[in-house]
């Protein structure tokens, strides 16, 4: 066998390392810090962010060194084809678990929209709930009138897409532009991949940089949209179930875009340093799969959160 990627006789088992347990320490401090911060806020105590920051720094630094180490080992030729296949399995199933995470929130969206809100409005099989609790509540989606507006403020307006015929409104509708941006970025990252296969470094750098820019623009527009929602529409996290599902779905997606953009930026840095060969670019490929996944989630969001 001349192709080392097919050789299964030796598997690289990395030596003992300090990275994993420091990730655990970092995560522990980070979430303890966030937890006590949140509890202090709720109790009205002056919160301390020290633990949170220390934990976050440990986590980020350790992950940085860990990935750097893996990249080094790869360039030293220690990583054979079998280990690369393990990486592929690992990344694929990690993305699958992310899909399931989003599914929980989509599930909450469908359940409340199709069942809970209708029942609260006195319709459907459990209509009695609404008749007893808030007989005046009229079900609608988006819920702009909450069952009990004294507990949960009504949002002024929703983020719902304009009617299909209103071309003018669509051209000013940010989520549509964001959809176009993310879809485009899926193509640009694919072109970057093709450039690696063709050993065309200039094109690789350009397409990859373009993808990162599109990611950043998406995030800026998303922040813009949130500001708009909070300041002008009165649509907030605590304005009832529409705001809850809207902000958690788009928020977690936005967080993933953040992460994806950062990962792609790191790959761009590596590309500029001359990393990646046609048959040795797992870091890039993993980043691009992640990016496509984020893109697909957005399309589902656009359809089910904004349009339908």
């Amino acid at each position: 066998m001349s192709d080392p990627s097919k050789d299964t006789s030796v598997y690289y088992v990395p030596e003992n390392g300090w990275h994993p347990i420091w990730v655990a320490v970092g995560v522990f401090l980070l979430v303890s810090g966030i937890g006590s911060w949140l509890n202090d806020l709720q109790a009205g105590v002056e919160p301390s962010r020290l633990i949170l920051i220390i934990g976050g720094l440990i986590l980020i630094a350790t992950l940085w060194f860990w990935f750097a180490r893996v990249i080094e080992e790869n360039s030293a030729g220690l990583v054979n084809g079998q280990l690369k296949r393990s990486y592929v399995w690992g990344m694929s199933w990690f993305i699958f678990s992310e899909v399931m995470f989003f599914l929980a929130f989509f599930g909450a969206l469908f359940y409340t929209r199709v069942l809970a809100v209708q029942w609260l409005g006195g319709e459907g099989e459990k209509a009695i709930t609404g008749d007893y609790l808030w007989p005046d509540f009229v079900p609608s989606w988006p819920v702009v009138q909450n069952p009990d507006p004294l507990v949960f403020n009504n949002p002024g307006e929703s983020m719902q897409a304009p009617a299909i015929t209103e071309i003018g409104a669509w051209s000013a509708y940010l989520p549509l532009w964001n959809t176009i941006i993310l879809l485009t970025s899926s193509f640009t990252v694919h072109f970057a991949h093709t450039a690696i296969k063709n050993r065309d470094r200039t094109k690789l750098n350009l397409w990859l940089a373009g993808t990162v820019v599109l990611g950043v623009v998406f995030l800026i527009l998303q922040v813009e949209e949130y500001v708009h929602a909070y300041n002008e529409l009165g649509l907030t996290l605590d304005s009832g179930i529409y705001g809850s599902t809207f902000f958690l779905l788009t928020g977690f997606h936005g967080f993933h875009v953040c992460l994806g953009t950062f990962i792609l930026a790191v790959q761009l840095g590596r590309a500029l340093k001359g990393h990646f060969e046609p048959h040795d670019c797992f870091g890039f490929e993993a980043a691009s799969w992640y990016w496509h996944f984020v893109d697909v989630v957005w399309v589902c969001l656009f359809v089910f959160v904004y349009v339908v």
Partner: protein, 537 residues
């Protein structure tokens, strides 16, 4: 074999591939599947003792009617944390520990596919559980809403420590997800030549399927606790009807995780007994293929039955019927498994060493738990049983003489392979009989008190339940303290047990038995050629 790869073998192997590092860093920094497996198993044993202590506090309070030792508020914290610690701290990590020890040896691999992530998935756990147990000492007390943490008990009415509980669950989830990814990559990618999928030992098969269940449902658990976090701290209304949400939605999402979770705790147990019973029956496993298909069907069905936990919350009739029939359907593949285990024993030259005793007890007692599960699956009957001690009896029968017995059986069975020494058979048998008798005295009477209407999670009860509860508490103490004997038997074996042969058990088949005892630090540095007869038992 390629020249190129052999060139860098010495470079890779010389500095670190001979044996374990010395001192504490061996355990903190290890990337070795055996070290990590050992860590998981001892961690799980520690959690078993802690969770068991909480159970004994519960049983002490319930020894007699009236309030003797603890306040109801503290009682709630005990039931909650007992459940959480046993599920996430004792049972699940024990199975991951077994997977770590056994998968590479059974598949003919040097180690797990992703060794560093393996270290991380273990070391998150002690941090997660320190966080969770520390909530018991926080102002306002620890989680007191039951291990199922239903909203709004766990949101609107929860103590402040719930925030840390949420993050602890997040950390356990991350650990499980990384663990499953590692297991899947190992099984799909690290098999020795000739180890085809349908030659894999059943323990490997059941873990492969379990890992998929974990990957599918742990993120959903993370999602639901995240919704709780936002309901508590950021004013969202997922579980608050005043804002258009629904507390019952919590139960739907939770049980979408929760029902597959019970199979996560039992499928690897099926795998373990499917290894042990053939060995001591000196016959190959009856119906290997049907075992694989049955496990897969159980895994599939486990996703469409979750609302059988919620028959009394008020679901549309069609929903109740669907979940009732789907649940009863699970009895079919489970029945196939029980049939196969019994057929394996049929006319075998059986011997009854400790692992076999625990496995036979597993088959009998798990089946009792399965039958009471069928009773609970019948929606109209469940209206009566719901939230009574009948439910407690049911799930303890599948989890204690089910999952836990299989773990104990596995430890006795493979311990000689792990440490190269035999346990004391006489003490092992004493441990078995104490556990067997203790477990039945504890949980069998709970069927009766439950059918008579005794509610679960209540520190006091009506006088007519007094006898059953007293018997139950006596059994619990017998069972609990006999696990200390288990610890003693293990340590005695590790320190001064008789030397084990490499085959250990006369009837054992599978690659792990071709390695010397104790197994070398790196199981198979070069993959063996696997032939059908040695692939599995």
């Amino acid at each position: 074999m390629s020249e190129a790869s052999h060139h860098h073998v010495p470079a890779v192997h010389d500095d670190h591939h001979h044996g374990p590092a010395s001192g504490l860093t061996r355990w903190l920094f290890t990337t070795n599947h055996k070290d990590i497996g050992t860590l998981y198993l001892w961690f799980s044993f520690a959690m078993l003792l802690i969770g068991g202590t909480l159970a004994l506090i519960i049983r002490a309070e319930l020894f007699q009617p009236g309030l003797q030792f603890i306040e109801p508020e503290f009682f709630n914290q005990m039931t909650t944390n007992h459940g959480l610690i046993m599920v996430f701290g004792a049972i699940m990590p024990a199975f991951v520990g077994l997977a770590n020890w056994l998968l590479p040896m059974m598949l003919g691999a040097p180690d797990m596919a992703l060794p560093r992530m393996n270290n991380l998935s273990f070391w998150i756990l002690p941090f997660a559980f320190s966080m969770m147990i520390s909530t018991l000492f926080m102002e306002g007390g620890g989680p007191n809403f039951g291990w199922t943490f239903y909203a709004p008990l766990s949101t609107t009415y929860a103590p402040p420590s719930v925030t840390f509980f949420i993050f602890a669950v997040h950390m356990m989830g991350a650990s499980s997800i990384m663990g499953s990814i590692n297991i899947i990559a190992t099984i799909l990618n690290m098999r020795a030549p000739g180890m085809t999928l349908m030659r894999m030992p059943l323990f490997v098969w059941t873990w492969l399927i379990t890992a998929y269940l974990l990957l599918a449902v742990m993120p959903v658990l993370a999602g639901v606790v995240t919704m709780m976090l936002f309901d508590i701290h950021f004013g969202t209304s997922f579980f608050n009807a005043a804002g258009g949400g629904d507390p019952v939605m919590f139960q739907h999402i939770f049980w979408f995780f929760g029902h597959p979770e019970v199979y996560i705790m039992i499928l690897p147990a099926f795998g373990v007994v499917s290894q042990i019973i053939p060995t001591f029956s000196r016959k190959p496993l009856f119906g290997y293929d049907s075992m694989v298909y049955a496990t897969s069907s159980i895994a599939f069905l486990s996703f469409i039955v979750w609302a059988h936990h919620m028959f009394t919350v008020g679901m549309p009739l069609a929903g109740q019927l669907f979940f009732m029939y789907a649940t009863m359907l699970i009895a079919v593949p489970t029945g196939v498994k029980v049939f196969n285990w019994i057929s394996t024993m049929w006319r075998g030259s059986m011997t009854f060493e400790t692992p076999m005793l625990f496995s036979i007890a597993f088959v009998v007692l798990f089946t009792i738990g399965g039958f009471s599960g069928l009773m609970l699956a019948i929606a109209p009957a469940d209206y009566q049983y719901h939230d009574t001690y009948f439910v407690v009896a049911h799930f303890h029968y599948v989890l204690v003489p089910g999952a836990l017995f299989s773990i104990i059986a596995a430890v006795y069975y493979w311990l000689p392979k792990w440490c190269g020494r035999m346990y004391d058979e006489r003490l092992g048998k004493i441990h078995f009989w104490l556990s067997f008798i203790g477990v039945n005295i504890t949980f069998f009477p709970q069927h009766f008190s439950g059918l008579a209407g005794m509610p679960r999670r209540i520190p006091d009860y009506a006088l007519q339940f007094a006898d059953f509860n007293m018997i139950s508490s006596i059994g619990a103490f017998v069972f609990g303290f006999s696990q200390l004997l288990f610890g003693y038997v293990l340590i005695k074996a590790i320190v001064s047990g008789r030397k084990a042969t490499s085959r250990v058990w006369e009837g054992a088949h599978g690659l792990e038995w071709t390695l010397p005892s104790p197994a070398p630090y790196h199981s198979f540095t070069h993959p063996p050629k696997v032939v059908e007869a040695e692939a599995h038992s």
